[in-house]
């Protein structure tokens, strides 16, 4: 067990009463997600890889009906959990957040404007990055050139669905992207609709974790695309995803009242 493992085990099990700790640790010369049980050796824990633990948790959560789970959370993970909990997909009382502040390098890689979790348990708070260089470049391009740029990027999409499968806030049971109207079967690359439908659909949920971009088999700069759509959302509705309380304007009636519980999850 390395120092980090000891520290995390102490925080999770001794101080905060968790039954499980979800973290990344070294296994077989690689870094593996692990659901560590109370009393078990935490092993050589690593926090230097941007794994989306919340997404990994979402997959197993329905199968683990009892016990409190501690999760290592960066600011984006914390915000993703807020979106998940607001939709009653997980129970806040069963979750224990262990705050991880991202390194400067990670903040730069994510062009992240909000890198510090509400409580820092591990790491040191670093300054945010205000600009996404590619976004700045695209903003200065003509609409035609922008279209050309995205068309050539989207040509590399092979419909792996990694951008949805690895996204911590993609939680619809029936994915709109599997709808044949938007995404006819067989053909790759899929049409513009695939990316634009996803883009719109995520704009009140996306917390800019960048996992879609990191896992994109085509190497498409999806995080920039996300940031641009989120910026529109903010301009038009004054809304940013990830807040504990504030509900998406898309989840309210025309009069601005909240939709009935469970009426709209996605």
């Amino acid at each position: 067990m390395n120092e980090l493992g000891k520290k995390l085990a102490r925080i999770a099990f001794d101080e905060r009463g968790a039954d499980y700790l979800l973290a990344m640790r070294e296994e077989h010369g690689n870094v593996a997600p692990s659901m560590i049980r109370k009393g078990e050796d935490a092993g050589d824990v690593r926090v230097d890889l941007p794994y989306q633990l919340v997404n990994i948790l979402s997959n197993i959560y329905p199968w683990v009906p009892k016990g409190r789970i501690a999760v290592v959370c960066r600011r984006c993970d914390e915000k993703a959990l807020n979106e998940i909990i607001k939709r009653n997909l997980m129970d806040r009382d069963r979750l224990i957040l262990i705050g991880l502040a991202c390194t400067r390098e990670q903040v730069a890689l994510c062009r992240c404007s909000d890198p510090v979790p509400s409580k820092v348990d591990i790491g040191e708070a670093n300054a945010p990055v205000r600009e996404d260089p590619l976004m700045v470049k695209l903003d200065s391009m003509s609409q035609q050139d922008r279209l050309k740029f995205w068309t050539s990027e989207f040509r590399k999409c092979n419909k792996c669905f990694g951008c949805t499968l690895n996204c911590p806030v993609c939680f619809c049971d029936d994915c709109v992207l599997e709808e044949h109207t938007f995404t006819p079967e067989l053909g790759i690359p899929p049409s513009f609709a695939f990316h634009l439908v996803r883009s719109m659909h995520m704009s009140d949920k996306c917390i800019e974790c960048g996992e879609c971009e990191r896992s994109c088999a085509g190497g498409i700069p999806l995080l920039t695309l996300r940031k641009m759509a989120n910026r529109d959302m903010k301009r038009m509705f004054g809304y940013e995803a990830g807040d504990k309380e504030k509900v998406s304007p898309l989840l309210t009636t025309l009069e601005g009242k909240l939709l009935e519980d469970g009426e709209h999850v996605c």
Partner: protein, 678 residues
């Protein structure tokens, strides 16, 4: 409640991506990519993401089955194994060991393939052991062994990232090897020139610097044509040719006949394009070629592979990082099943079965007398079975009834057998014809190793228990070996099997489970202190000099005729895998590609009065299938394409079993056919 993440290797294509299987109490619930894996780098294709989906499918075989009174009925392991051994022994006693064929499998681990070939050679006494590599890259193995002395991908997958020219031919890389394409994109983003030569417009060709379409079966002509341009314009690597090769003068003479005009006539590729790609390829410093079954599945497949080898030697594009000739192999362990000796002419590690010294070495190691003659290839053996010369087949995980050419003929051949035993995870089309069916564990239910297309040893780790009474193939092979009464089948774990194989196959000499558990090692790895090899043929070839083999263009065995005016070519799509036994049981994959179809050009569609989506009948000299038409401009006029995944319209009812004379690979890529309404 236990939750585990088990790092293992994808059971689909040969890229060898690693991922974590999410396991909750012996049930697979998901797949998580592995960001630290050097090959997949945290990315997967849609098949990889759903690799857990078929594992718990209710159709899985759970108990042995034995045919009684014409019916397959449930039996004990004892009875089923006993039946195989007694029937095979009886046939050997009457007709000799060479009346038996054993099929290894590119879906089984290295350790299992090692044992399967040992079972054939040491327990049954025949070199008749082969597997489906015969149908995909046999011509790569035979062609490259002749040209370079070693029949494997010369580079590693991550080396594509830094290439500055990538020539892709006969490979629909984005669909068949998505994560290798992902590496190519990295090079593309840095400005690499991607050249695609393919009869179909593939997704990759749309982002290519040049996308050229040749008529199917005319590859040697354009490759020779490139070489002529390169020699005429003095763009070849004189030092490399002088110091590292033989046979240049003969090559020069043959390719001289391939002027751009003549090439245009034969292939349909415009002369100016040919000249352009020849210059681009020759002048690039880091030039890589990637090819797949569009090259190999021809009756002159070995020669096409040799033509590509000539091109790399001529330009000196070999033996350096991000420079080389790369066969992209189709199945998770097709590289390893060849390495482990699942071939009729090679012991493990490509050691010849007809070399007396080698035979002696294996006889000593295994403690039995071994046959000295090469065995029969899969495709050849099937023809022998039709003539009644092969009496029994024991097949591990091979669904030959969909993957092999001309299945009507094949079915007859299988029905003629006196005995057929199948080991598989699902009741495949082939299993239904068998006398004994044994239930196997799938990749998620056993330990072992696969060898990826780029020669990396990739651990396969057990995540869940096999269903019912199913057992891993290595255990089944051990049980059979023991029952045949020969020594050397007492293994307790796959790691022990690897140790034995490493001791006998020098290219795996330094491999053991402890090393590969934490490191990526690629063969050749002759000793424990060897780190393995990244790119091959640096400095010299295994056999000293590389051999130029001048090859001439020949027409495919079948050319269009008035009765069959079209060329039919076959292949796969992204969402299904091979004969579909696994993917068609994964709902997300089946959703993408549920139905068999034939692609044809809109001009041809008009000429034949066919509209998109309409039901049509496609026929060749061997049979016909009924399926939906997909009208597209992604395929050149005069050519049709059918993927071979679908049992309800098997493309291989139509294909031509004509064989390459050296590799015995069938001509799956070209036959003459016609299309009609209805």
């Amino acid at each position: 409640m236990s939750v585990n993440h088990v790092l293992t290797t994808c059971p689909y294509c040969g890229t060898g991506c690693q991922f974590f299987l999410q396991v909750v109490d012996d049930r697979l619930v998901g797949v998580v990519p592995c960001k630290t894996d050097e090959i997949s780098q945290g990315r997967l294709c849609i098949k990889g993401y759903h690799a857990h989906a078929f594992v718990h499918h209710p159709d899985r075989l759970k108990t042995p089955l034995v045919r009684k009174d014409g019916q397959l009925v449930r039996a004990s392991w004892h009875e089923a194994l006993g039946r195989i051994v007694s029937e095979v022994k009886e046939i050997v006693a009457h007709h000799g060991p060479d009346s038996v064929l054993v099929l290894a499998s590119a879906k089984c681990t290295n350790e299992e393939n090692y044992l399967i070939q040992k079972l054939a050679r040491a327990a049954i006494g025949t070199n008749n052991v082969d597997h489906c590599a015969r149908l995909c890259h046999a011509s790569t193995v035979s062609g490259l062994i002749l040209s370079f002395g070693s029949g494997a991908m010369t580079n590693t997958t991550p080396e594509f990232d830094n290439a500055d020219c990538i020539l892709v031919t006969g490979s629909n890389t984005m669909e068949a090897h998505p994560i290798i394409a992902s590496h190519m994109f990295k090079a593309h983003a840095k400005g690499a020139k991607v050249i695609v030569v393919d009869p179909r417009e593939t997704p990759l060709s749309r982002m290519a610097y040049r996308s050229l379409h040749q008529k199917p079966g005319t590859d040697i002509a354009w490759i020779n044509g490139m070489m002529k341009v390169i020699i005429d314009e003095d763009l070849y690597d004189r030092d490399f040719v002088k110091n590292r090769t033989t046979g240049f003068e003969a090559l020069k003479k043959v390719v001289d006949g391939y002027t751009p005009d003549r090439v245009e006539q034969i292939t349909g590729i415009a002369g100016k394009d040919l000249i352009d790609i020849a210059r681009t390829y020759a002048k690039s410093e880091k030039a890589m070629i990637a090819y797949a079954m569009g090259v190999t599945q021809h009756s002159n497949g070995t020669n096409i592979v040799r033509a590509l080898a000539n091109l790399t030697m001529l330009t000196g594009h070999l033996g350096k990082e991000s420079v080389g000739l790369n066969a992209l192999r189709g199945q998770c362990n097709v590289q390893g099943s060849c390495d482990s000796g699942g071939l009729p002419d090679f012991f493990p590690g490509y050691q010849k079965v007809d070399d007396p010294e080698t035979v002696k070495k294996f006889e000593k190691a295994w403690g039995v007398k071994l046959p000295h003659e090469k065995g029969l290839t899969l495709t050849w053996a099937v023809q022998q079975a039709a003539e009644g010369k092969i009496k029994a087949i024991v097949a591990f995980g091979e669904n030959v009834m969909l993957s092999d050419p001309d299945i009507t003929h094949l079915e007859k051949a299988l029905k003629k057998l006196e005995f057929l035993a199948i080991v598989d995870i699902f009741p495949s089309e082939t299993a239904l014809l068998a006398d004994v069916v044994l239930p196997a564990a799938c990749y998620a239910e056993k330990d072992g190793t696969f060898t990826s297309t780029d020669r990396a040893l990739r651990p396969v780790r057990k995540a869940v228990d096999p269903p019912g009474e199913a057992m891993p193939d290595w255990k089944i092979a051990c049980e059979l070996g023991r029952r045949f009464g020969v020594p050397g089948f007492e293994f307790k774990s796959p790691s022990e099997i690897m140790d034995e194989m490493a001791g006998l196959a020098p290219i795996y000499g330094g491999i053991d489970y402890e090393r590969i558990d934490r490191q990526v090692i690629r063969w050749p790895c002759p000793s424990k202190d060897s780190p393995g090899a990244k790119f091959l043929h640096a400095g010299s070839f295994k056999m000293g000099r590389g051999v130029f083999a001048p090859v001439e263009h020949t027409d495919p065995q079948e050319v269009p005729s008035p009765e069959f005016p079209m060329i039919l070519t076959t292949g796969r799509n992204l969402f299904q895998y091979h004969t579909g036994t696994m993917t068609r049981r994964s709902s997300k994959l089946e959703r993408e590609a549920p139905e068999p179809y034939v692609e044809l050009n809109s001009k041809d569609a008009k000429a034949f009065g066919v509209v998109d989506g309409e039901r049509v009948r496609v026929s060749s000299r061997r049979g016909s299938v009924s399926l939906a038409a997909r009208v597209t401009d992604n395929i050149i006029p005069g050519t049709m394409f059918i993927p071979f995944h679908y049992a309800e319209a098997p493309a291989n009812r139509l294909t031509n079993p004509a064989l390459d004379p050296i590799a015995h690979i069938p001509e799956l890529k070209v036959c003459a056919a016609r299309i009609e309404k209805g």
